[in-house]
Symmetry: C2
Subunit: 399 residues, 2 copies
């Protein structure tokens, strides 16, 4: 039974007392196993083994070992995913790699629902390559029509960070490839939230974040997927020693590692990596289909309750659960202040400019009763105008 399943997974997390946490789409809750692992890394690996830990504690293999763990969650074969750097840096690798395979085409196509850092990375690639490339940004619903023979790379985030609207990865990948373009999928709001099938969709590249639905810890390293047949054709723009075929021979010239390991760069942040490695054990024995089913039920319930109780809020997410990720967003003219008031009432979501109140649903540790209670508290804040206080309107540095 899936309710037993999720009652069990909930026990794997350190959930703060009294908090209803609907922000796992921004920073996942700490798995107990991650906490224990980091303490072991401190006391045993760094503390006692010191430099030997690269061998004795397996530090050197963590990026590919964790990559293979993540691969099982996104429909990728072993040896096609590696963990390294941040999502932004991995997108730089993916874009510069894709542009090595795309001939003379000059357009990077994306949409205005993409997470802005992806667009900034594309700007940086265009400026740096300085060969007449351009970034074309259209509305999400216009993407399919904008795929033409000028497009070198279609670069999209599958699930919109603000609205949760989902692109059809398989369909758009097929369309792009039929037009001769390559695809890069950002799975930041997909991996761990819903079934992803990179192999089935024939995606060329993918990148993603491990601190949201994968619960890897704040700023945990990101991942990159390269379709196996592309791997040997790529000369990494970010060529560095951990991506070398023989890093500890210390030759003066770069020879890329045989496969996905060439996407590694410098020495990785081991404490953060190790937290992620153990955080991923919560997925052992979990079916992503079960997670998706529960996520849709939780988010449908939230929409129903909020709409019943708060007519002032406007749904910003697709009403059809199959068309959105594992989050629900509402528009409210004082969304920032209302979210601060809600957080003060121990229901944690977040705000995205200009007016989006965003709520993430993570079945591994959030249940129906909490979703109902969150909707009730939100309704009270709105009906009592509790957001209308200076302390809730004062903007923090990070929103």
């Amino acid at each position: 039974m899936t309710s037993d399943l999720f009652a069990r997974t909930r026990t794997l997390f350190e959930i703060p007392d009294g908090v209803i946490y609907l922000d796992g789409n921004s920073l996942g809750v700490m798995p107990k196993a991650a906490r224990e692992r980091v303490i072991t890394e401190l006391d045993v690996s760094w503390g006692r083994e010191l430099i030997r830990a690269w061998n004795t504690c397996g530090w050197i293999d963590l990026p590919s070992k964790i990559g293979d763990r993540i691969a099982t969650l996104i429909g990728a074969p072993p040896g096609s995913v590696v963990v390294a750097d941040s999502t932004s840096i991995n997108l730089y690798k993916a874009l510069t790699s894709a542009l090595q395979l795309s001939g003379d085409r000059r357009v990077i196509l994306s949409d205005s629902g993409n997470f802005p850092t992806d667009l900034y990375v594309a700007e940086g690639v265009i400026r740096t390559l300085d060969r007449g490339l351009s970034l074309k940004i259209v509305a999400p619903e216009d993407i399919e029509a904008a795929i033409d023979a000028d497009v070198a790379v279609l670069m999209l985030t599958e699930v919109d960070y603000r609205t949760g609207r989902m692109h059809d990865m398989a369909r758009l990948t097929a369309r792009a490839q039929a037009a001769g373009a390559l695809t890069i999928w950002d799975l930041a709001h997909s991996c761990g939230a819903l079934p992803v099938d990179l192999t089935g969709a024939n995606a060329d590249f993918a990148i993603g974040c491990s601190y949201k639905y994968l619960n890897g810890g704040p700023g945990a390293p990101a991942f990159i997927y390269v379709r196996p047949d592309h791997q040997p054709k790529i000369q990494p723009a970010l060529s560095a020693w951990m991506g070398h075929a023989a890093p500890f021979a210390f030759p003066l010239n770069y020879t890329p590692a045989p496969a996905i390991d060439r996407m590694r760069t410098g020495t990785p942040p081991v404490l953060s990596l190790a937290a992620l490695d153990s955080a991923l054990t919560v997925w052992d024995g979990i079916s992503m289909q079960d997670v998706r089913q529960r996520s849709m039920e939780l988010s449908d319930l939230f929409i129903a309750r909020v709409e019943a109780l708060c007519p002032e809020l406007e749904l910003a997410s697709p009403r059809d659960a199959t068309k959105r990720g594992s989050q629900v967003s509402f528009r409210f003219h004082e969304g920032y202040a209302a979210m601060q008031a809600l957080i003060a009432d121990n229901v944690i979501g977040d705000f995205r400019a200009p007016d989006i109140m965003r709520f993430g649903f993570t079945p591994l540790y959030i249940g129906f009763a909490e979703v109902e209670e969150a909707a009730r508290r939100l309704a009270r804040i709105i009906s009592e105008n509790r957001w209308d206080r200076p302390e809730f309107k004062a903007r923090s540095k990070v929103t």
Copy 2:
């Protein structure tokens, strides 16, 4: 008295029982403050505050706060150093930035004593920019003569990772700038090891590692320095949201942050960052001149004892302590096996191909008695041919 000083600093570290650790130049010993800090980040920041910790626990400011701490150790003004990514990624940023300021010149000049990843990064930059740049690698002693009007960027590591030989940063920077070139200094084996004066040397860019003499933890994030007058002129190649002027406004276009913060990229690995932040507190009240003086005494002692006891070993480092960093290397034809035998005898150094046995001296936690004992154990291993066993000759993945 400096002996009291270093007796005190030693108590700030978790030194494993029975181990003489002469590899702080590869991975520094864990400061107790770093361990405590990481546990607080787990139990309070991630565990309880969750997403709120970006504001309430100051996560968002860590990269510039730590950058300013490091700045005080390398002669850089506040606001000129930021912590982000790895040394390799930061070198990519520095090189692509320097090449924006260097006009039509086409040569990146470096030396064969540079750490190979720096050369690999330069290769990646050259391939990616694809505008006729080339990497010229000369012997370290030929660098000065090789600086000519073709050189766009002089890219050097101040202290040679194998031999410890030190370049004269001020002199070479002046020579390069007189010839119209820019300079990038890799301080991996300098920061925390000896006094560095980036402002005095008028260095253009610098990068460095925080897990060696800064004891920040395995793979702790690296730093980048950009001379303040260059900062506003640079359009980052790796443009991403944490380097944006207004990341939480989420505009579709990139506008770089005003100063050094534009060198930030994606979301940083917070657990590793926090460890580094607290690790740096061991430097409070420490004079780098005192550290340097003690480091030279320790390494001079080691050379004297090893040369007296082990005629089979050949000194690979400069004999003059003022010409080397805080490490000493010896050549031995079976250096790998001899180092494994020494490690089995609880003296930890490391090996660098093809035949270098490398020993780092970190006055903050290593004293004279340990240095003498290390030399004695090394001498026994050599005189007894104890390295000549299969278990010591079998190569590990990481050497």
